[in-house]
């Protein structure tokens, strides 16, 4: 891998990615709104290149310094990376209702989180991939941590990549207390491919 392939995205590419994420999010919001029958408030996507050391602090800054639940899910294909979905707020019964669990279901909260995360990730990343004309698939989601500090979710020494692209969006449901942050992390050896896809997109407009 040459140094050139690892350079950060240019400002134009970042702008484009932000707009594409915005579009992807919008599609996700509308789909989620449809299946949950709820109006979804969406934030403006934020994008940054981060050294791995600064990822825990960035996560804490974004989601706030209180304990959270988090789920991770990988996507792979012509672009690949991982998505961390961080949940704050959201009472169990609200989630249960959204996902159609019966009252008597003594299903674990964990499964609820996995389901909700899967829907958010699928809808949002699906939208981005579609705009970028990228083919992607998803791994099954898994629980990263329950009731822990956001700073402890990702430990820098466990990361494979020295630098990562960090894309964050926030979903809130208008009538429910659920809030979730969706953080897409892409390793630096993916920057090049992503940059190319973004250039193709830029050339098409």
């Amino acid at each position: 891998m040459t140094a050139e392939t690892r350079t950060d995205l240019t400002e134009d590419q970042r702008d484009a990615l932000q707009e594409i994420a915005n579009i992807g999010m919008g599609q996700a919001g509308s789909l989620i709104g449809k299946i949950w029958g709820e109006f979804v408030n969406l934030s403006i996507p934020r994008i940054a290149h981060l050294d791995r050391q600064s990822i825990p602090a960035a996560l804490t800054r974004l989601v706030g310094d209180h304990s959270v639940n988090a789920v991770r899910q990988a996507f792979h294909g012509s672009i690949r990376g991982e998505v961390v979905v961080v949940f704050s707020g959201g009472r169990d019964d609200e989630l249960r209702e959204l996902m159609g669990y019966e009252e008597a279901d003594s299903v674990e909260e964990q499964e609820l989180l996995l389901d909700v995360a899967n829907i958010l990730v699928g809808a949002c990343l699906g939208g981005i991939a579609e705009t970028l004309k990228a083919e992607i698939g998803f791994s099954a989601p898994s629980v990263m941590g329950l009731d822990i500090s956001p700073a402890l979710l990702i430990r820098p020494d466990e990361l494979n990549s020295g630098r990562a692209l960090f894309l964050e969006v926030r979903f809130t449901l208008e009538k429910k207390s659920l809030a979730s942050h969706l953080v897409v992390l892409m390793p630096e050896d993916e920057f090049f491919v992503l940059g190319q896809a973004l250039d193709t997109f830029l050339a098409s407009i």
């Binding site: 702008d15 932000q18 707009e19 915005n22 509308s30 109006f39 934030s43 403006i44 830029l202």
Partner: protein
């Protein structure tokens, strides 16, 4: 006389995409704003006939712009261009006085269709 068009979006790419998609034979003067506050400043400073308005923006979002326009009884044709394509969002902006809603990503064909439908461009 040329029609004055204001494009309001925080994303430079989105503004660029929109401007590219405008009909080439349309006699217009284009100005741009990156958030709601700038949009209102531009509006009050001069004539705006048609406003293309994004919804999610920092500082002042599209909903707030629409509310202000309506409260101050300002009139111009507002076409919302948004990635937030939830039906409720479309309903809300139309209730706030937007004449049309165009979903992102914008295409020249889609835009032309809307402009024709509302008789802005014949």
């Amino acid at each position: 006389m040329a029609v004055s068009v204001l494009v309001v979006d925080d994303s430079p790419i989105a503004r660029k995409m929109l401007i590219r998609a405008l009909p080439s034979d349309w006699d217009i003067e284009i100005s741009q704003a990156t958030n709601g506050i700038e949009a209102l400043v531009a509006y009050r400073a001069g004539k705006v006939d048609v406003m293309f308005l994004d919804l999610t923006m920092p500082d002042m979002d599209g909903y707030q712009v629409l509310e202000t326009l309506r409260k101050e009884d300002l009139n111009c044709l507002v076409i919302v261009v948004s990635a937030d394509i939830q039906e409720k969002a479309q309903e809300r902006v139309q209730n706030l006085g937007a004449i049309a809603f165009i979903r992102k990503p914008i295409t020249a064909e889609g835009l032309a269709e809307v402009l024709k439908k509302y008789g802005i461009v014949v």
